[in-house]
């Protein structure tokens, strides 16, 4: 039932590949240096063009206008019929199917598979011939893009995870600060989401990251639900993640009661969204190694949370 991390990784790459076919344009994959022949070129000359450039077909251009396409198959037929003296104009396929340079690559993929052609001339919206696309170009463009993205994320992760080794000091603490807007349910959770991603890049164990993310998210939701806004601050050093959620909201009347599972003062609209069930603070306590809650009514609330990095990472 459990998939290996490698398989999951491969699946992610394949999904990304599917997305890329939609994101990349034909012009990102096409060859721009197009070799062409004219209708008056003989089939014998055409053979030399293919051989010299190691290609299998070209568009046929007459006075700047594309009038057809000719391929190695047409050459083979001409050879078999002993018609090497014939002109390209006689043997070409006139008015070939084309692709626009700004079309998504996925259109090209479907045209290749539905029409069975080996190549498509690429034109811009003004009708000028600007490139040519063969199936191999698509694969090459996708691999190139995947490599670039993979490399970028690797570099980010590498940089981040080596930051403690690379910085020379007796003690290094990284500090991240996120603003939380009160009442803004639309963006609620963004701070925790960004913190989670940052911690993953730092190379912190996924189980620890999950505990920190859940605690941060519950704290952030409390700020969004009950206050006019506040901040989530996280400090990371090689031993622990320290978090401070601070607001200038109404404060908590009875902290002991607030810590009881199931106790809540949330209004109905918050409950309808699946929050305010009185499990937030107990959840934070379960996810963290240390938790300190201070609150003064009318002044605000400070919630400090610590998760140690060397712990087994159990949730």
């Amino acid at each position: 039932m459990v998939s290996t991390p490698l398989a999951t990784q491969q699946k992610r790459e394949i999904t990304r590949l599917q997305e890329l076919v939609y994101e990349l344009r034909v012009r990102d994959a096409m060859t721009t240096r197009v070799i062409t022949v004219t209708p008056r070129t003989t089939m014998a000359e055409f053979r030399e063009v293919l051989r010299a450039n190691r290609i299998s077909g070209t568009p046929v251009v007459d006075e700047g206008r594309m009038v057809g396409i000719i391929s190695i198959e047409d050459l083979i037929k001409a050879l078999a019929a002993g018609e090497l003296h014939a002109t390209v104009g006689e043997k070409m396929t006139p008015r070939p199917m084309t692709l626009y340079d700004d079309e998504p690559l996925v259109h090209a993929v479907s045209k290749f598979s539905s029409l069975g052609y080996g190549r498509f001339p690429v034109i811009n919206r003004q009708g000028d011939l600007v490139g040519i696309l063969v199936q191999g170009d698509i694969v090459r463009a996708l691999l190139r893009q995947l490599e670039v993205e993979y490399h970028e994320e690797e570099v980010r992760r590498y940089r981040a995870s080596h930051i403690f080794e690379d910085i020379l000091a007796d003690q290094v603490t990284l500090r991240f600060r996120y603003q939380v807007t009160g009442g803004d349910f639309e963006r609620a959770g963004e701070a925790s989401s960004r913190l989670k991603k940052t911690l993953s890049r730092l190379g912190i164990h996924p189980r620890i990251v999950r505990r920190v993310a859940i605690a941060a998210y519950e704290a952030e939701m409390n700020i969004v639900i009950y206050t006019d806004g506040g901040e989530l601050i996280a400090e990371v050093d090689p031993k622990r993640v320290y978090m401070l959620a601070v607001d200038h909201g109404p404060g908590i009347l009875d902290i002991q009661k607030a810590m009881e599972p199931g106790f809540s003062t949330a209004p109905d609209w918050v409950r309808e969204m699946g929050f305010g069930a009185g499990m937030g603070l107990p959840n934070i306590q379960n996810c963290t190694d240390e938790m300190r809650l201070e609150s003064t009514v009318g002044v605000g609330t400070r919630l400090e949370m610590v998760v140690y990095l060397d712990a087994s990472g159990q949730s």
């Binding site: 639309e186 999950r210 499990m279 959840n283």
Partner: protein, 130 residues
């Protein structure tokens, strides 16, 4: 259990684009309270919920949940789908109730998330069990 199999068992529909139906879910959790989702799930859980707002996706992200089934034929607003696609979380829809959706999957062998120390502690205290 692969999402493909989940989809068959609940006769469900896929709501997100680029959904990987070969994704493995290891266990299931049915909840409408987001704090319960955060407290009583593990990484790789399939979440069944009747709530469809974007916070369900946020909650799933924090809890390391990669797939959500909306039950009782409820369909999420576009914001929820957009956020899920951004975060790479699969959204499925089931016309069956929470009970039946969970029941179909449990009967087919998808286990629950098990028991949690935090709730067991309260249980033991209240009922005086060791």
């Amino acid at each position: 259990m692969k999402l493909r199999e989940v989809l068959q068992l609940i006769e469900g529909k896929v709501l997100t684009r680029n959904t990987d139906l070969d994704l493995e879910v290891r266990m299931g959790c049915g909840a409408d309270l987001m704090s319960d989702v955060l407290a009583f799930t593990h990484e790789g859980t399939l979440l069944m919920s009747g709530l469809t707002n974007p916070q369900v996706v946020r909650t799933a992200e924090m809890a390391g949940i990669q797939a959500i089934v909306f039950v009782r034929g409820k369909l999420p607003p576009p914001e929820t789908i957009a956020l899920a696609e951004e975060k790479g979380i699969a959204l499925l829809a089931s016309k069956y109730t929470m009970f039946e959706t969970c029941g179909r999957l449990y009967r087919a062998g998808l286990p629950s998330c098990g028991l949690f120390e935090s709730s067991l502690k309260r249980w033991r205290e209240f009922f005086g069990e060791e």
